[in-house]
């Protein structure tokens, strides 16, 4: 047993020697959600752009399941050599409140590399829904309470967090209807089977601009360029109602500082990439600024989001396990 620290020290020194040559081979970027989803899309665009300055390919690997916790755990347990990294969204911060048996601590098991993106959410309803402005919507919900049906994509999903915050802000409970993913929600909204939802602008820009659904507000500080007519929640009179789906890149705890810095530099370069900027803009997603794509900014964001969501989720009395 006494040998262990010595071995550990030895391995550390060995890795730091090799850290100077990093990366020598392809890097695996774990996406804890299925291929084709919004997080996967953001990860692939980011991986592609980061590869350009890193000099080696970043290969996306989808390890889906259990609300993103299986993929995150995989990276938490991986060798801290910089060849396995993780892209995760806001779910990284809400998992401790939602999962009572979470096998890792988000703040302790990972080294932050930097923020990637922030995507606003939009509050939308079926086309025949009576309310036509955000104020009318809130008044209608307060009047009709649980007669209004709110769809979300499963406990812990962004649409669930957004709905939970919305209901706690206006102090009225709606009937929440869980779905498996956002696709089926949109189908039911278009078919008028369900009243309303709150979904990432990524998924709603198309139906909103085609006037297939009614849009009431966007949960960001500024209006989205792709949705110039949709007011922010602050403009609509509910400034406390702010949700953004942010993504960050992480490495396992113990990854050498030199390696982390190289990844952060590659991430910052990626955020300036022309293709990435264009694609992000099309799906109403803000790329991180140079100041946000840093280890410190992601650590701060993660800490503050954990603190913010913990009481909201606990008050709703919901768990995902």
């Amino acid at each position: 047993m006494k040998l262990l620290p010595i071995i550990a020290a030895f391995t550390l020194s060995v890795t730091s020697v090799f850290a100077a040559d990093y990366p020598e081979r392809n890097v695996f970027m774990v996406v804890p959600y299925a291929a084709g989803g919004p997080t996967d899309t953001i990860a692939r665009l980011t991986a592609d752009a980061m590869s350009k300055s890193l000099g080696k390919q970043i290969v996306v690997e989808n390890v889906a399941g259990a609300g993103g916790t299986i993929g995150a755990r995989r990276v938490a347990d991986a060798d801290p050599d910089g060849y396995t990294i993780l892209v995760h969204h806001i779910g990284m911060a809400t998992a401790p409140a939602l999962y009572r048996q979470l096998p890792y601590k988000p703040t302790e098991a990972f080294e932050p590399i930097g923020l990637v993106s922030d995507a606003a959410m939009t509050v939308i309803a079926r086309n025949e829904f009576p309310a036509s402005t955000f104020q009318e919507l809130v008044a209608y919900i307060k009047q009709n309470g649980n007669k209004v049906t709110y769809a979300h994509a499963g406990i812990g999903a962004a649409s669930h967090l957004c709905g939970t915050l919305f209901m706690s802000t206006i102090g009225t409970q709606m009937t929440t209807v869980p779905y498996k993913g956002n696709g089926p929600i949109m189908t039911d909204l278009l078919g008028g089977q369900i009243d309303m939802t709150c979904d990432q602008a990524t998924n709603t820009v198309g139906p909103i601009t085609q006037k297939q659904v009614k849009a009431y507000a966007i949960t960001s500080d500024a209006r989205a360029a792709t949705l110039p007519d949709v007011p922010t929640t602050t403009e609509a009179g509910l400034p406390e109602f702010k949700v953004g789906v942010w993504h960050g890149v992480y490495a396992p705890k113990g990854t050498p500082k030199e390696v982390l810095d190289k990844l952060t530099t590659a991430l910052q370069a990626a955020m300036e990439d022309a293709t990435l900027k264009e694609r992000f803009a099309q799906i109403a997603t803000m790329p991180a600024t140079k100041e946000q794509a840093t280890q410190e900014a992601l650590r701060t964001k993660l800490d503050s989001e954990i603190k913010r969501w913990d009481p909201i989720i606990k008050a709703a009395g919901q768990f995902a396990d």
Binding site: A66, V177, F319
Partner: protein
């Protein structure tokens, strides 16, 4: 009508450039080759090959992805027929009679029946997509949870027809499948059900692991019982090509399968899953010789394959007209579109007509290439069966393990596969059939989801199922199907009673 021809012309001119034909061909070829690996279905194949397409233009990349999709789907039927290894729910149906045909030395006709009826269905369904996409979409949107619930009940009722033997045993198997479908996270409360504390089970049992275990691994175990002589799975291989009588038997099922599949494929809430099961049940019901089903009836291959391929084609409709994915494969296509800089949605048809109609035209080209590619390969596949057991079985086990692992990159799924292999072996010893169980397993979660959602939206009022006309109609048909299934039994028992009384 002129519009349609003009649009298809535009699509064909986009899809028929040598460059796009090349990538359509590369897509179908890669799709077939990867899809033919046991257990690897279209979703895993597309996810694996997705990065290759990213450097291409949007049209070319979508055409290639669609090619991979058809290729993988067809490749999946090949393994189902040859070695009883279905990679997805639809090929589980193909395995029922296809594998029996292969064992009787008729693998060639089975593969040809699958290829030709798929091509026939693909051709018709492409026209359906081009001509009827908008009206079909508005019908699909009328399907809310009560309607899907009715559809699932009808599917389960019809599954009893799948039974070769005892109706009671079939009901037991369907119920067991429903119970396996309960494993995982309860989406309403987030509670874990029957997960034994394993986070890997939080999203339920992996379908591919269950199917490969239940069919493929169990089949290998069964074969190990007989003393291993250095023989192949089959020594005599009758003709590679279907006979005239085979062709005659295929036409009707292929037409009916195409109709069923085209209709069910449009429904994004799980309709396509039912297509091949529904076609099989229908063919068996209307056959003059239903006892041949399960023992190598070519109709049992042609119908479901046509239904499956037609459904695969029309499941593009919700994505093309609404930008909403109907299944994981469509979700991947939408992801690929976004990465290519195309925002999916109804505006794609008007803003990107070349892409939109090019993709539709490429569906037909892809199907054509698939037939051209696969008919000559049949001889090769059939030769595979002459490989001795001692080589073939370890190879199947190895490839099946790779296939199952590749779905979620998860070793736990391999244990699930092994466990279901043993379970499937026990079932066959006890004369229970795995197919109805698999259907229950696939439909169970959908049944529960739609039942609970319908009840939540109606605030607990059960009458929604009977007051909405589509749902009431589907439930009535389900009831009739059940009565018809039980009638012969009741009649027989009454006869027996009378005999005893005499």
């Amino acid at each position: 009508m002129m519009d349609l021809i003009g649009n298809l012309g535009l699509g064909l001119s986009a899809a028929l450039t040598p460059y796009n034909i090349l990538f359509c061909f590369v897509g179908t070829l890669l799709g077939t080759l990867v899809g033919v690996l046991p257990g690897i279905g279209p979703t895993a194949t597309i996810a694996m090959l997705l990065p290759i397409t990213l450097s291409l233009s949007p049209e070319t990349s979508l055409i290639m992805l669609a090619g991979i999709y058809y290729g993988a789907q067809y490749g999946g039927s090949t393994t189902a027929i040859l070695i009883n290894l279905p990679g997805e729910s639809s090929s589980a149906v193909t395995a029922l009679d296809g594998y029996q045909m292969a064992r009787q030395g008729r693998a060639g006709p089975a593969l040809a029946a699958a290829a030709l009826s798929s091509f026939f269905a693909g051709t018709i369904a492409t026209v359906v997509v081009a001509a009827l996409a908008p009206p079909l979409t508005s019908i699909a949107l009328k399907f809310g949870s009560p309607e899907y619930f009715g559809l699932m009940v009808l599917g389960l009722a019809a599954s009893i027809v799948l039974a070769r033997g005892s109706v009671l045993k079939t009901i037991a198997m369907v119920s067991m499948g429903l119970v396996f479908g309960l494993v995982g996270t309860d989406i309403n409360t987030g509670a874990m059900r029957f997960t034994l504390g394993r986070p890997e089970l939080a999203d339920g049992l992996n379908f591919v692991a269950v199917a490969v275990g239940l069919f493929g691994i169990a089949e290998i175990l069964r074969n190990l019982e007989t003393t291993i002589e250095r023989t192949a799975v089959i020594s005599r291989v009758a003709g590679l090509w279907p006979s005239r009588a085979d062709f005659k038997a295929m036409i009707g099922p292929a037409c009916r399968g195409t109709l069923l599949g085209s209709a069910l494929g449009v429904l994004p809430g799980g309709g396509a899953i039912l297509a091949s099961f529904a076609s099989y049940a229908l063919e068996k019901k209307i056959s003059k010789t239903p006892e041949r089903f399960g023992n190598g009836a070519i109709e049992g291959v042609a119908g479901p394959e046509a239904a499956n391929n037609a459904g695969a084609q029309t499941s593009f409709i919700p994505m093309l007209t609404l930008g909403v994915p109907a299944n994981p494969v469509m979700a991947l296509m939408i992801g690929a579109m976004i990465i290519q800089g195309i925002v999916p949605g109804p505006q794609v048809a008007t803003e990107q007509p070349v892409l939109f109609w090019g993709l539709i035209a490429s569906m037909w080209i892809g199907n054509l290439l698939l037939v051209i590619l696969n008919l000559p390969l049949i001889g090769l596949w059939v030769k595979l069966l002459t490989v001795p057991y001692t080589v073939l079985f370890p190879a199947i086990l190895a490839f099946a393990s790779i296939g199952v692992y590749s779905v979620n990159s998860n070793t736990f799924d391999l244990y699930v596969m092994a466990a279901f292999g043993v379970f499937g072996y026990a079932l066959s010893k006890l004369d229970f059939e795995p197919a109805p169980m698999l259907l229950g397993f696939v439909l169970g979660p959908l049944l529960e989801e739609h039942l609970r959602r319908a009840m939540t939206i109606s605030h607990g009022d059960v009458s929604v199922f009977f007051t909405r006309p589509i749902s009431a109609g589907l439930l009535t048909v389900a009831l009739i199907v059940l009565i018809v299934a039980f009638l012969p039994n009741i009649a027989r028992r009454r006869k027996q009673i009378f005999v005893e009384e005499d």
